[in-house]
């Protein structure tokens, strides 16, 4: 009982901090970057990270197995992985744009996990015979870490696409009055940027220079984080294959989840190869990575939603 209370407390603390943090982020994004607020939001992220770690440890102790046996637990682990990715540059004192992506992603995952949608899955379930293996920890943690890193990377690519094509979008919105409202936010940001840039003598060139630099940074960090996620995904898939050879009698069964993981792997392999073509712009590989964003969600959620195949442990109970 004490464990349940503890878990409850930790969940609520982390959710409250996360809501505060997202407010701070929105303020600093739309109004101005206030250093003090930004620092406090960072502290908030660290506090949430410890809360979630505590949550996972608590579940581990009272259920007696690594807390990755159903979708709820793997989602908590996913948001924990996002926190890890968020924390690493902070520890290494790198200033990069990754953090601007990881923070909202973490918040949304966390919000989704703790929202009422999945309440009936919250209680820890018993482990079915096939899951009782040491490979569970290795396979699932690597897969989820891989998903987290790949999602971050592909979101960076989406950001790159948005920034590159914002001009096009703005023209589009001018032509179409209906869409005008939805892009007003981008307009505000643009105005902001303009105000800042007005101070510098060469107005247009420097703005383009900063934009190009931002795109390049996004591109480089996206590539790095996707490479990292690709390593985790590879290890995850292969350890899963070894485990399948122990439990199901074959290292590859073309089970839907397996197949989709392989599709994800192939897609990011394509991404890594498009990077090696010299005369191809970063936009093209960013498009591939953005497709990857959808594919990961199909792989992660879609297959469980249908509850098909051998991987149907963490499926939804929608009845």
């Amino acid at each position: 009982m004490i464990f349940f209370t503890l878990e409850h407390i930790l969940t609520h603390i982390s959710f409250s901090i996360v809501s505060i943090v997202i407010t701070i982020y929105l303020i600093s994004l739309s109004v101005d970057e206030i250093i003090g607020l930004y620092d406090s939001s960072e502290k908030g992220m660290i506090a949430t990270f410890f809360c979630i770690t505590g949550l996972l440890v608590t579940r581990w102790i009272y259920s007696g197995h690594f807390p990755l046996s159903n979708l709820y637990e793997s989602l908590i682990f996913l948001s924990w992985s996002f926190y890890i990715i968020h924390m690493v540059p902070y520890v290494k004192k790198h200033k990069n744009y990754l953090r601007a992506i990881t923070a909202p992603t973490t918040i949304f995952t966390q919000g989704f996990v703790t929202s009422g949608l999945l309440t009936e899955m919250h209680q820890s379930e018993i482990l079915v015979p096939a899951l009782q293996s040491h490979w569970l920890m290795m396979h699932v943690s690597m897969m989820v870490l891989g998903y987290a890193a790949l999602l971050c990377g592909s979101l960076l690519s989406v950001a790159l696409l948005v920034i590159t094509f914002r001009k096009v979008l703005r023209i589009f919105s001018k032509n179409n009055n209906f869409l005008n409202d939805s892009f007003s936010f981008g307009e505000i940001q643009y105005m902001n940027e303009r105000n800042n840039v007005l101070l510098s003598p060469s107005f247009f060139s420097s703005r383009n220079y900063y934009k190009a630099q931002l795109i390049q940074q996004l591109d480089h960090w996206g590539y790095r984080i996707i490479s990292l996620g690709f390593i985790f995904l590879t290890i995850g898939i292969l350890s899963g294959a070894v485990w399948a050879n122990e439990a199901w009698g074959s290292y590859w069964n073309w089970d839907p989840k397996e197949t989709w993981a392989f599709i994800t792997w192939t897609l990011f392999a394509i991404y890594l190869h498009t990077r090696t073509i010299k005369n191809l712009e970063s936009v093209n590989s960013a498009i591939v990575a953005s497709i990857g964003f959808l594919i990961i969600w199909i792989c992660y959620f879609g297959v469980n939603l249908l509850g098909i195949g051998l991987h149907s442990y963490g499926s939804f109970n929608l009845h």
Binding site: H94, W221, R224, I235, G249, T274
Partner: protein
């Protein structure tokens, strides 16, 4: 001088080609050839002293050696009875043709956009394979993809069945695509990656500050010494080479080689998969506790390379099958105690297997995969024990249900009445009376009798049967080797190959560098390292140009 010798060695072969009677066309070709040689030798004389040029000349000679094949080929065709020599050169031309053709094929296969297209196609086919239900009877597809109402306006069962999409992962299209991908992998490794390694291994110093400044990252350190920079780079894990005033340093060379390893590991996995598909045996069996089976009877070959081994004669005896339960009553684990007996009946191995813990013997693996309810042992009015076979009952849902029937009263009456017994697992049996009304639940071994319509029933034991999967797979060691190599090389591929050039330019040091992966981190790292290079505050006359390494 060496190149001069090679010219001399080459020249005697030239007249030989001229001896053969040939038409004007060949003459002109020969002449062209000869003219080329002349040009080469002229060049050689003019620049004998320069070593660099000598290298250039020897390359030219190689080039002129390559020219003859088309000439020889034509000659072979024209002078059909030209004797042994002509025949020989004709064969050489054939080899040349094959070589050229294979080079063309290599060039096409190693084309990166093609490889990307192949990967995308494989991914799309796999996605399609998960969308279309696999391995159903044709009737299923007639119903699901009818001709009068096609999916997306064109996709009907004809597509599914003619293209083999009902068994996607063994369909010729999919396997052919994989084979093509494997060919591309090989071609790309051979034509693109290995040359990159050859280039990357060369240490090249840059001789002008301008070239260094052109690099992706460049900086100039005033009043610094190149030796200090070298020491600092060495401390940061770089391999440093110093030659006079110029420096070359690199780090993470393995990151350049690793993608080759990734490709080779992929090929190894593909080879292993092929061996698995062609040379394995598979089979599954449900054995009631206490019974035997022979391994060879269960296993069926999967491909043309499958050959049975000595171990196939082994007999397997199921000593015991039992389940573990959680407190909530759900199954936590299945166990089967197996004994392996050789031809003479001697026990060669004994092990209790469970899910995730298979038995391995002589290349054969026995997995615990399933279970079933075999028989129920009961006492009827203290008579027996009787063995009632349990039948699996099909209900919706994944959970198993077994049932059996104990007739009571007259055996001769047309309307057979009796007691029904149902069980979800081996733990508890639910009993229903003659009218189908629930009467009670009994556990086996409880020895607690239950009275149903005057019949006293005691459930003595519930005997389960173990569902076992057997296989031999000679591809597994190969595939595992590929897995290990793939994991390792993918990790190493994350390393970024960084190269730094530097040059002492007066009192200043010009530094330039580039990296292939960590393009965002590299400038930061460089700035950090260059900040640590000490500034020389002495008079400029004492700059360390003569220190030399």
């Amino acid at each position: 001088m060496e190149s001069l010798h090679s010219i001399n060695r080459l020249n005697p072969s030239l007249p030989r080609t001229l001896f053969i009677p040939c038409n004007a066309q060949i003459h002109s070709l020969c002449n062209r050839n000869r003219a080329l040689h002349f040009r080469v030798s002229c060049k050689l004389k003019s620049s004998l002293d320069a070593r660099k040029n000598a290298k250039l000349v020897s390359q030219k000679i190689l080039l002129s050696e390559k020219v003859p094949p088309p000439l020889a080929e034509e000659k072979g065709d024209l002078a059909g009875d030209g004797g042994e020599e002509a025949g020989k050169s004709g064969r050489g031309g054939g080899v040349g043709l094959v070589k050229r053709f294979s080079r063309r094929v290599l060039a096409v296969l190693s084309n990166l956009p093609l490889a990307i297209g192949e990967m995308a196609t494989v991914a799309a086919l796999m996605a399609l394979g998960t969308v279309i239900d696999q391995g159903e009877a044709p009737g299923f597809y007639f119903q699901k993809y009818p001709e009068e109402n096609p999916v997306l306006g064109f996709f009907t069962w004809r597509w599914v069945l003619t293209l083999g999409f009902d068994h996607m992962f063994s369909s010729p299209i999919f396997l052919g695509m994989l084979a093509l991908l494997a060919a591309s992998l090989m071609a790309c490794t051979y034509t693109t990656q290995i040359p990159i390694v050859k280039v990357a291994r060369r240490w090249k110093f840059m001789s002008s500050p301008e070239a260094i400044r052109k690099q992706e990252y460049s900086d100039t350190l005033p009043r610094a010494s190149i030796e200090d920079l070298g020491v600092i780079l060495m401390g940061a894990g770089y391999e440093v080479f110093l030659k006079g005033p110029s420096l070359y340093a690199f780090k993470g060379l393995a990151g350049r080689f690793a993608p080759i390893g990734v490709h080779l590991a992929m090929l190894l996995i593909m080879v292993g998969g092929t061996v698995s598909a062609a040379g394995s045996f598979r089979g599954s069996v449900t054995v009631p506790q206490g019974l035997n089976f022979v391994i060879g009877d269960v296993l069926g070959p999967s491909g043309f390379l499958s050959t049975p081994t000595e171990a196939f004669n082994t007999e397997v005896h199921v000593n015991r099958f039992y389940m573990d339960y959680y407190d909530s009553g759900e199954v936590s684990q299945f166990h089967t105690d197996l004994s392996l007996l050789d031809l003479s009946g001697k026990e060669v191995m004994r092990k209790t297997i469970s899910v995730n813990d298979p038995l391995r013997y002589g290349g054969i693996t026995i997995y615990q995969t399933d279970w079933s309810f075999s028989t129920l042992q009961i006492l009827k009015d203290d008579e027996g024990p009787f063995n009632l076979p349990m039948a699996p009952l099909q209900i919706n849902g994944d959970k198993k249900l077994f049932g059996t029937f104990l007739p009571t009263g007259d055996d001769d009456s047309p309307k057979v009445k009796g007691i029904s017994m149902l069980a979800r697992d081996l733990q508890s049996i639910v009993l229903y009376d003659q009218d189908g009304k629930f009467t009670g639940v009994r556990r086996p071994n409880s020895k607690l009798p239950i009275d149903i319509g005057g019949t006293k029933v005691v459930i003595v034991d519930a005997i389960g049967s173990s569902g076992l999967d057997l296989k031999t797979d000679p591809g597994v060691p190969v595939v595992y080797a590929g897995f290990g190599a793939l994991m390792l090389t993918t990790c190493i591929s994350y390393l970024s190959h960084a190269q730094i050039w530097a040059m002492q330019d007066g009192t200043a040091v010009v530094v330039g560098g580039k990296t292939n992966r960590a393009k965002a981190e590299f400038p930061e790292e460089m700035n950090r390292l260059l900040d640590r290079v000490p500034e020389i505050v002495e008079s400029p006359s004492k700059n360390p140009e003569g220190v030399g390494s």
